[in-house]
């Protein structure tokens, strides 16, 4: 029940936030913050009651009893569709990340959103609810439902509160995600049909559908359906082009959620569904996926370097960083997978913070064009220092979370393909180039003395400090995160090894 409650709290909370607007435009924000924090506290309290958390044992992908939590109730029994939720180390990590960044997103909407605040916060909470559902649902039909649930409020957030070209960006975001989601739906339905014809029983449960026997050709096509849906969301090269537009046009809180959480659903889907459901097909496909990952790393970095729009640059840096996730997943060994999970968490924090900075700049300067910035450190030293921190984090300085992630991915990848590692490592150099360019163009250079700008206030500094501490913690002592993901990854690796008898 815990898992359903988590989602329900957010759904109902969204409704409350919307209704509370009649008491004043600042009330919805408070309600939203309270709801997210309540959800977080509820989860933490519930977790402290779980004895398994200390010594997480490896959950076997096919056996729900070995998971941290499992809940199942009938929904449409005629087709074997059920409300099936389950939680293991990776989902738990992602749920925690979602709630923490949810709070951050509410904070970043504090002064940014001025119209229809109630509806905005409601959309924010509903998106979070959809994301939580995606991270916990293990019935493939239910998973698809949540996949759509998180899409629609996000569409509204971009379309209503976005910047100049919001209609175009929102539509692009919607069509990319929807079209690829439909491909996944086709795959899900086909998979269930094959399972039905094999066993005579309808089921959409992840645990039943693992190990479904089918022709290699069929498996390959079905795997592609999942892969495309997840890689569009990730986003991986060459399906990334919705991201720069969506990010650039979205309101700050939308960008934070989009970059921090929504992109991770793609990575999560790859680890949870695309590879385990079709291990053989994934082996065949791995070289292509690895090349796409490396291409994303380099391509994203080169394009980020070319941008003049602050937010667009960060958006392309996301493309580059998520390329590492794709590499990590398809290298499919302990080191690389741990790196991919780590990257999901660390990138969530570093990019969310950078988008918040971009939003603050937009709020103060009414532009995102870096050619009109420069020397802002002089006007806003605190914001400058904070920006420096996160830019250095995003270029992968050791001691901060992103480095651990990138290093582990590359180290794992090196054992699979040294040459590709060299190409992906170019991302480290080009990453430095665009990150420092961002710093140079916005905060360094000739200051404009006539500008009167407010520096970060207490609320903003608190939010930033939270994320700084998180990144330093991840960088210097990543073990808790690694330990949470370790048993899950071990289980997956064992599972795929027994199915295919070897490494990907």
């Amino acid at each position: 029940m815990l898992m359903i409650n988590l989602i329900l709290i957010l759904l109902v909370g969204g409704l409350l936030a919307m209704l509370s607007e009649r008491f004043g435009s600042h009330v919805p924000r408070m309600v939203a913050l309270a709801v997210v924090l309540l959800d977080l506290v509820y989860l933490l309290l519930a977790l402290s009651g779980l004895p398994e958390l200390g010594g997480l044992q490896a959950p076997v992908p096919g056996d729900p009893q070995t998971w941290l939590m499992h809940y199942r109730a009938e929904w449409i029994p005629a087709f074997g569709i059920s409300f099936e939720f389950a939680l293991d180390g990776i989902s738990l990590l992602m749920v925690l990340l979602t709630l923490v960044l949810g709070a951050v997103a509410v904070s970043s909407s504090w002064t940014d959103v001025t119209t229809k605040c109630g509806f905005f916060e409601a959309n924010l909470l509903w998106t979070l609810a959809g994301v939580l559902g995606v991270f916990m649902a293990l019935d493939l039909f239910l998973f698809f439902l949540f996949w759509e649930v998180m899409l629609i409020p996000m569409y509204f957030m971009i379309a209503i509160w976005g910047h100049e070209q919001r209609a175009y960006a929102a539509m692009k975001f919607f069509i990319f995600t929807q079209a690829s989601g439909l491909l996944m739906l086709v795959s899900v339905l086909t998979l269930a049909t094959i399972h039905q014809s094999n066993t005579g029983v309808w089921s959409f449960s992840y645990f039943d559908l693992l190990n479904t026997q089918m022709a290699a050709q069929t498996a390959y096509w079905l795997m592609l359906g999942f892969f495309v849906a997840f890689v569009v969301k990730l986003p991986g090269f060459p399906f990334h082009t919705w991201l720069p537009d969506a990010h650039t046009q979205a309101p700050t809180a939308g960008s934070v959620i989009l970059a921090g959480v929504l992109l991770k659903t793609g990575a999560y889907g790859l680890i949870r569904f695309a590879v385990p459901l079709f291990p053989e097909a994934s082996i065949d496909f791995a070289p292509i996926a690895l090349w796409l990952g490396a291409a994303g790393v380099v391509y994203g970095a080169v394009l980020a370097f070319a941008q003049t729009d602050f937010k667009r640059l960060i958006a392309y840096s996301s493309v580059s960083h998520m390329g590492f996730v794709l590499l990590g997943v398809y290298a499919w060994n302990q080191l690389a997978l741990q790196g991919a999970v780590m990257q999901m968490v660390a990138h969530g924090f570093s990019t969310a913070a950078l988008f918040m900075i971009a939003g603050s700049l937009q709020e103060r300067l009414h532009t995102r064009d870096m050619r009109e910035m420069g020397g802002l450190w002089h006007n806003m030293p605190r914001m400058g220092a904070v920006a420096m921190f996160f830019i250095i984090a995003s270029l992968g300085l050791p001691g901060l979370g992103n480095f651990v992630a990138e290093f582990l991915v590359l180290l794992g990848l090196f054992q699979v393909d040294p040459w590709l590692t060299m190409i992906a490592a170019l991302g480290l150099i080009t990453g430095a180039a665009y990150s420092l360019l961002l710093m140079q163009r916005s905060f360094q250079g000739e200051p404009d003395e006539s500008r009167r700008l407010n520096d970060f206030g207490t609320r903003e500094m608190l939010t930033m400090a939270l994320m700084m501490v998180a990144l330093i913690g991840l960088g210097l002592y990543p073990q808790p995160v690694l330990d949470m993901a370790q048993p899950v990854l071990d289980g997956l690796l064992q599972f795929s090894a027994t199915v295919v008898g070897g490494q990907l």
């Binding site: 941008q307 050791p398 180290l411 090196f414 040294p418 430095a432 180039a433 420092l436 073990q479 690694l482």
Partner: protein
């Protein structure tokens, strides 16, 4: 006592964090006390540890915590302490302390006083972690950490975008080397299953034979990292530009400590290099060619800091030469003496710049001998040590390097000859600097002389530069002992005589004017050669053409997002189809009706079986 070495990097780090958080609110005195005091305390602790260690020279290891553990990959945040670490730590904290003290006067009028010391302290912490790390990953943390601090400090005066440009160049060029080094780390871990430096040495000797391909590749990758950080060919171009930072920063980071990290890395992993003789030769050749290239360039520069920067590149070239010929301890010895005399020279130049309204051009100085006596004597002593005049510290270290280079089989004498040429050039350019700046007629009046906070570090460094050659390094246990053979006496005599010849030439040309070289210099060939040297052998322009501009062009080419064009095509197809179909919806009733009737006729015809 030994458990306390963890505190040595921690103290400057904490001080740095304090300064960052509270910097704006503290009074200047407090900032200075915190900044200098923390490094002083670290130096004190290093001294105590040194006393303890020298009494009982047993290397030891201190694990603070396991950094990350994934399978058998479990690097720790752990320190390893032996003679080499001790030497490096002493240089960093000792010279670092003096430079911090010097900075309090040099930077006293700067608005961002706290930020300066925060960065500088963070640098000291990162550098200490670099030399104390017991595994290559933690070393890499320090390695990147000093890189970032160098970036922050070179671009310290961020208001001028040229400084930002130089800072970015410094970071990105070294990052190229760092990335190669990271690949080396991947290779070492994949092949040997550990990144612990001591364990690597053991495992490498068990797994590999001398001359194998894998150690060669690994060593070359590490060399690439070292070349980037230590500003050797072909990645040296960032260092002269990095002089944009405050002069004490140049003294600490770009002369005494950070740029010698590459030397430290190779010395630390010497067991790997011993398995790859070709990599050793590569190290020696890189060192020798860099040292000659930079010496020629230094001869033609006018900016006092650029002269010193090229001289640093050149001297690190000597250290690489030493490492390449297996003279490990001589290389580290030169690293230490160089830290003394080069820090002295940079601080001296800082004093000149400080008192001469930020003048950098040596030909606008002159006659400062009587006006700035402390600085003059610092420069005299520093230049003497740099030129390796007998009995100075530089003499001992450079002499060792040249003699050991001579003994290498085959190419030894050639390396020695090249080193001698470098030594001659060094003597000439360093005393050119002295004669032009301190003698002759005064072109600019200094508006003040150095205060005690500048004079004290200068005097102490003078002492070290003069007598540092007598220090016995406790590194005998760390490195394999060199052969006991001595080359013929004439080799030694020549090595001693060459720098003196250089000084005499500099005297004749730049002071007394008895040796007229104008005729030679005005020959067209010499003119273009001078321009070539002045530009740093045209490498900056070359890289600009080869890498920088193509990258900008590539970025500009892709800016329009060609991938999106594919999706744009889908959109265009849809819109065209839509256009065609929308034609039918004309809004004219009669057309609708006509189409309906035709449809009806077709349907009726089908139903009646006409088709």
């Amino acid at each position: 006592m030994r458990q306390l070495i963890g505190l040595i990097p921690l103290i400057p780090l904490l001080s740095s964090v304090c300064l960052m958080l509270l910097g704006g609110r503290l009074p200047r005195l407090w900032i200075g006390l915190l900044g200098v005091g923390s490094v002083g305390l670290a130096a004190l602790l290093t001294g105590l540890t040194a006393v303890d260690f020298l009494a009982n020279p047993e290397p030891f290891q201190l694990t603070l915590w396991v950094w990350m553990q994934v399978g058998n990959f479990a690097p720790g945040v752990a320190f390893y302490f032996d003679g080499l670490t001790l030497v490096m730590m002493s240089v960093i904290t000792g010279v670092g302390f003096l430079i911090h003290l010097f900075s309090t006067e040099f930077m006293e009028e700067d608005k961002s006083y706290a930020r300066y010391f925060a960065y500088l302290n963070m640098f000291v912490a990162a550098m200490l972690i670099l030399v104390m790390a017991d595994n290559l990953l933690l070393l890499y943390l320090g390695w990147e950490g000093v890189g970032v601090c160098s970036y922050l400090l070179v671009g310290f005066w961020y208001q001028n975008s040229a400084n930002g440009q130089a800072a970015r160049k410094a970071f990105i060029v070294t990052r190229i080397g760092d990335t190669a080094m990271a690949l080396g780390l991947f290779l070492l871990f994949t092949e040997l299953g550990t990144l612990n430096i001591q364990a690597l040495g053991v495992a490498a000797n068990e797994t590999w034979q001398v001359g194998d391909k894998l150690p060669l590749i690994a060593c070359l990758l590490l060399l690439a990292g070292a070349v980037g950080k230590s500003a050797q060919l072909p990645l040296h171009t960032w260092l002269p530009d990095a002089m944009a930072g405050p002069t004490p920063v140049s003294a600490l980071i770009h002369a005494a400590t950070m740029v010698t990290a590459g030397v430290y890395l190779i010395a630390r992993t010497h067991e790997l290099y011993l398995l790859a003789p070709i990599a050793m030769i590569a190290v020696a050749l890189v060192g020798l060619s860099t040292s000659l290239m930079a010496a020629f360039t230094a001869l033609t520069q006018r900016d006092i800091k650029r002269i010193l920067a090229y001289s640093t590149i050149s001297q690190i070239g000597y250290m690489f030469l030493a490492l390449g010929v297996g003279a490990w301890s001589a290389g580290v010895f030169h690293l230490m003496t160089h830290a003394f005399f080069k820090a002295l020279l940079f601080l001296g130049s800082g004093a000149i710049i400080h008192c001469l309204h930020h003048e950098h051009d040596i030909f606008k100085m002159g006659g400062l001998r009587t006006r700035m006596p402390v600085t003059f004597w610092s420069f005299m002593i520093g230049s003497a040590a740099l030129a390796a005049l007998p009995m100075t510290s530089g003499f001992f270290s450079k002499d060792q390097i040249l003699l050991q280079a001579y003994q290498v089989d085959g190419i030894g004498p050639w390396l020695w000859l090249g080193g001698l040429l470098g030594a001659l050039l060094t003597a000439i350019y360093s005393f050119r600097l002295v004669f032009v700046v301190f003698f002759g007629k005064a072109n600019t009046e200094p508006d003040r002389d150095t205060g005690w906070r500048m004079a004290l570090p200068l005097s102490l460094l003078c002492a070290l530069a003069l007598f540092g050659g007598w220090i016995m390094l406790p590194v005998a246990e760390v490195f394999p002992t060199a052969s006991g053979l001595h080359p013929a006496h004439w080799v030694e005599y020549v090595s001693i005589a060459v720098p003196i010849v250089g000084v005499v030439i500099a005297y004749l040309v730049f002071y007394s004017g008895q040796l007229r070289v104008d005729g030679l210099l005005n020959m067209p060939l010499m003119q273009s050669l001078q321009r070539f040297w002045y530009s740093g052998w045209g490498l900056d322009a070359l890289y600009d053409r080869l890498f920088v501009r193509p990258y900008y062009a590539l970025a500009a080419l892709f800016k329009g997002e060609p991938v999106d064009a594919v999706y744009g095509l889908i959109v265009a197809i849809n819109q065209t189809l839509n256009g065609w179909l929308a034609e039918g919806q004309s809004g004219q009733m009669r057309r609708y009706l006509i189409s309906m009737v035709f449809g009806l006729i077709v349907v009726l015809a089908i139903m009646l079986g006409a088709f």
